[in-house]
């Protein structure tokens, strides 16, 4: 089981990025509904694990951070969801 994806905030961030080419920090915060500091810490862990990538840029002279789901992150998400479905079917941890 992927311990990193057991957090609802991290799982939600990955799920949000699944259908997005990229999303900004602000968009992820709006979609997940958590505080800036909390989300920042969780996204940091996902970046560290290589599940998402981070791009920092300036848009209209304002700093903007964009996140993208990586191949590794997509694979981990799919495996995690499959595992959850298996638990639901069998009722025990695989």
């Amino acid at each position: 089981m992927d311990e990193l994806l057991l957090s609802k905030i991290r799982l939600g961030a990955i799920a949000e990025l699944l259908t997005a080419e990229w999303a900004t920090f602000a968009a992820l915060q709006k979609a997940i509904g958590t505080t800036q500091g909390n989300l920042g810490a969780h996204l940091g862990k996902l970046v560290e694990a290589g599940y998402i990538s981070e791009e920092k840029m300036f848009v209209d002279r304002r700093p903007q951070t964009r996140y993208r789901l990586t191949k590794k992150g997509r694979g981990a998400f799919v495996a995690h969801v499959r595992e959850m479905q298996a638990i639901l079917k069998t009722g025990r941890v695989s």
Binding site: K8, W22, A23, A27, I32
Partner: protein, 194 residues
């Protein structure tokens, strides 16, 4: 982990994915502007074909002015898009299809000795119809109808060589500009779900 906890995890995923965009409902302004540019170019060539025996540059002044306005508006939209918080996978795919189609049309215009006569106009119509139909295949019925109209106009123009420019222009005005007006007028949910 037990089954209720696993269910809770899957519920988080379901909630997030339920809000994800699954179709495209683009802004209509660019469709209207670029459609009018293409239609005016087609009609200008048709007018030259009917009323003039030699090429006169000032016939293209309206098209050039409209072309400049379309470029300026597109740049404004691109700048606004960079400021938005999220680009969906489907929108990104649409933009790639759009760029590839317009590049193909640009190559065709450059290779004038191969694509002569009304081929240029027809290729621009194809370049407009492909992204429109692509949006249609993602569930937007207005775009699908518009794409079919533009494609159909090329077929009709093939059988009306003396007025091919008018037919191609009408196809773009009804299919492409019409879709743009509808995108602005009709809410996304209605356009996608009916």
């Amino acid at each position: 982990m037990n089954a209720p906890e696993a269910r809770e995890q899957l519920d988080v995923v379901d909630r997030v994915l339920a809000h994800a965009e699954r179709s495209i409902h683009p802004s209509g302004t660019l469709f209207v502007l670029w459609g009018i540019v293409a239609a005016v170019v087609d009609l200008t060539f048709q007018a030259i074909d009917w009323y003039s025996t030699r090429f006169v540059w000032w016939w293209f002044v309206p098209a050039i002015v409209l072309y400049g306005a379309a470029i300026a508006t597109t740049m404004l939209y691109a700048s606004r898009a960079r400021r938005c918080g999220r680009l969906s996978v489907i929108e990104a795919q649409y933009l790639r299809v759009l760029y590839i189609s317009l590049c193909a049309a640009g190559v065709a215009v450059f290779c004038g000795s191969i694509f002569n006569g009304w081929a240029d106009g027809a290729i621009w119509s194809i370049a407009y119809a492909i992204p429109l139909t692509f949006i249609g295949t993602q569930g937007n019925r207005i775009a699908l109808a518009g794409g079919i109209v533009v494609f159909a106009s090329i077929v009709v123009a093939n059988f009306v060589p003396h007025a091919a420019g008018v037919v191609l222009a009408l196809g773009i005005l009804i299919g492409y500009v019409g879709a743009g007006i509808a995108f602005e007028a009709i809410p996304a949910a209605v356009a996608v779900n009916g």
